[in-house]
């Protein structure tokens, strides 16, 4: 029997699910090797158990905690996809405020009807087997990971910073153009697509396993960023890890 695959979405923009649909021909090739049994954005059917459950989106409501536990019970393998599911992503920017204030800011006196909790990655709620980072996920990486799983391998997880691929891509370092970048800290695997695409790295794939935060902070401050700027830059996708950033800061002395 072909492996049964499901795709679920929680607090997110559903862009990563759309990336799966964007895989086009490669997706139709994969369909010969697996069955998609549940994918609310693209199909009406649903299923009771799954070999692989891909999860798009962060957890940011009580009801999502129970829904995730339920999926965990039904799934052999759970794989968060995208920055929201892997890191909490941009959703965690709201975590700086008390949740009742968050609700009031949007719903005013109707706040009592609605629920929200601090946004968190899926791995903070249930155990996960692997993760596919990025905002959005990279199509090629998704297809590769699925193929590796189908052939019984443990999928490869990149752990080189974005800078490595950025050099290979032949980009001029954005710091030399007076722009700041999180590439030195951020997990690669994206082919440095944002720098190649005329921008800078915002850190959407999360940090490498042993990030050299102090060195990054040094170059950001040397580029003229204030402490507040540095934190704002860092917390766009990584607000969940922001506390680590603050702790590390005290160890470091700026040399001019």
């Amino acid at each position: 029997m072909k492996p049964r695959v499901a795709v679920f979405d929680f607090t997110c923009c559903e862009g990563c699910e759309l990336q799966i649909l964007n895989c086009g021909e490669e997706l139709s090739d994969l369909l010969s090797a697996l069955d998609i049994v549940e994918f609310r954005e693209a199909m009406s059917e649903s299923a009771d158990y799954y070999d692989i459950a891909f999860i798009d989106g962060a957890c940011s409501r009580r009801s999502e905690i129970s829904a995730l536990r339920d999926i965990r019970k039904r799934a052999k393998m759970v794989i968060p996809i995208g920055a929201c599911a892997c890191l909490g992503g941009v959703n965690c920017l709201k975590n700086y405020y008390p949740m009742d204030e968050v609700l009031r800011s949007e719903y005013g006196k109707n706040a009592e009807y609605f629920d929200t909790i601090s946004a968190r990655p899926i791995s903070a709620v249930i155990p996960v087997e692997f993760y596919i980072p990025g905002c959005p996920i990279v199509k090629k990486e998704f297809i590769r990971v699925v193929r590796e799983i189908l052939s019984g391998q443990i999928p490869y997880q990149f752990n080189d910073p974005v800078c490595a691929e950025c050099k290979t891509a032949g980009n001029v370092c954005v710091f030399d153009k007076g722009i700041t970048c999180l590439g030195p800290l951020t997990r690669g695997g994206c082919e440095a697509t944002c720098v190649t695409g005329g921008a800078t790295c915002w850190g959407c794939r999360g940090l490498v396993d042993k990030p050299n935060i102090n060195a990054e902070k040094l170059i950001l401050e040397q580029a003229g960023l204030s402490e507040d700027d540095v934190i704002k830059k860092f917390d766009l996708f990584n607000a969940c890890q922001e506390s680590m950033w603050r702790l590390e800061k005290s160890k470091y002395k700026l040399t001019k």
């Binding site: 559903e14 693209a42 959703n91 800011s105």
Partner: protein
């Protein structure tokens, strides 16, 4: 005393972007009651935008929606540029339009082929059609890919493109890319014809309910990324009056706000745009509209899918003109220094699903103090509810399952972008 059986059933709607439930309350001998409930998890983007620096605002705003990320970027950039008094060059405007057209083609074709089409062919998704109706699916996927390829080549990638920035583009396409796009756009014409031909044969449910239609309008063009607001009830309004138009309000069973203007509800999106701006469609699109039976003012919400096909025909032609113009002008490197200062800016675009507004207030250091975003699907929610009520009333003889399916198709025809609307 006779007891009456009352049954309430809430089903999640599939094949739409985001989470919504259709609740049907049926009791013997009575017309069923119907309710459109938005259950999407809110992300609080307006709060998240607070405190962000100007150069990050559009990067964050883009994440409101995976399908219409370009629209959110452009509304955000337009708001920031308006606040700082920046006027973008003709080249930037053309490139933005081209990138925008890419998004609209992709979004419309996703809806037309992947979300809606299975309803008419009696299946639950496009996946089984890959075997039974391969040519049809491939036509749809080719058109969708054209939209994505435009986004990748002009914007850097298909979802959350990186190249657009305040004042201009961080990356410019070269002549080779433009020539390639020109070819691809020309090659798409037979696929568009096939799409029109296929949808012409389908039996679109016949249902009409007159409502207020709202869209951007511009004297020089079929308005997409600039213009003033036009209502079929009250005429033209300038952007800074948008709050008088959108009047958002909260209801307990929806995490997304609803909106109303001159009546109990209004509609935005492809059908609204065609109803308002049909005189500015190009000849190919007018021909497609004729073939598909779209005669403005058209009050059948199910026709929104057909309106999207008409718009796609228009946009492909439009993109060819833009590419030609860019080739003629030549692409020039541009500098766009940005000077941040305190002020308010409003940016409005027609996202694939309708009028989208971002409104930011900046402090002197270029950080956002207050943000407000009005999303197309927000504005459609009340109209969907009123359509559903009338649809249920006008179909008293339908069995429940059949009625439910019709209601789901109605909701789907609006192409709701629910995570976006909850943002």
């Amino acid at each position: 005393m006779a007891t009456r059986k009352i049954k309430i059933q809430a089903n999640k709607i599939t094949r739409v972007e985001g989470h919504g439930h259709l609740a049907l309350r049926t009791s013997e001998g009575k017309t069923p009651e119907v309710r459109w409930e938005i259950t999407e998890s809110p992300r609080f983007f307006e709060l998240m935008l607070k405190g962000r620096p100007w150069h990050d605002a559009h990067v964050l705003a883009s994440r409101i929606c995976g399908i219409c990320s370009v629209s959110h970027q452009f509304a955000s950039l337009a708001a920031t540029e308006a606040a700082f008094g920046i006027r973008v060059s003709e080249q930037t405007m053309l490139l933005r339009k081209l990138l925008y057209v890419g998004e609209m083609i992709e979004s419309h074709m996703l809806h037309v082929y992947i979300l809606v089409c299975p309803d008419f062919l009696g299946v639950g998704s496009i996946f089984p059609l890959m075997e039974t109706d391969k040519d049809l699916v491939l036509t749809g996927l080719r058109l969708k890919k054209l939209g994505n390829d435009i986004k990748e080549l002009v914007g850097g990638r298909a979802i959350h493109p990186q190249a657009p920035r305040v004042g201009g583009f961080g990356l410019l396409p070269d002549e080779q890319i433009l020539l390639y796009l020109k070819n691809r756009l020309t090659e798409a014409l037979p696929d568009l014809e096939a799409t029109v031909k296929f949808y012409k044969k389908l039996r679109i449910p016949q249902f009409t309910r007159e409502t207020e239609y709202i869209a951007l309008t511009h004297p020089d063009e079929y308005a997409l990324i600039r213009g003033s607001i036009y209502s079929t009830d009250t005429g033209t309004a300038e952007l800074d009056q948008y709050m008088d138009i959108t009047n958002e309000y909260c209801i307990p069973h929806s995490t997304a706000k609803f909106a109303r203007h001159a009546r109990e509800s209004y509609a935005v999106g492809s059908l609204s745009r065609i109803n308002i701006n049909h005189m500015q469609l190009n000849p190919l699109a007018i021909q497609a509209a004729e073939e598909l039976g779209i005669h403005p003012v058209c009050c059948n919400p199910f026709d929104n899918t057909l309106a999207q096909i008409v718009e796609t025909v228009h946009e492909v032609e439009e993109a060819r003109n833009i590419v030609n113009q860019l080739l003629e002008n030549g692409i020039a490197e541009e500098n766009f220094p940005v000077e941040a200062h305190a002020g308010r800016g409003i940016g409005a675009v027609e996202a694939p699903r309708g009028l989208l507004i971002h409104d930011y207030i900046y402090d002197g250091s270029g950080h956002i103090v207050k943000a407000n975003c009005v999303i197309p699907t927000n504005q459609n929610h009340a109209n969907i509810q009123h359509d559903l009520e009338e649809l249920v009333q006008s179909n008293p003889d339908r069995k429940n399952d059949n009625l439910r399916q019709l209601c789901e198709m109605l909701i789907r025809s609006y192409d709701p972008c629910i995570s976006c609307s909850t943002h």
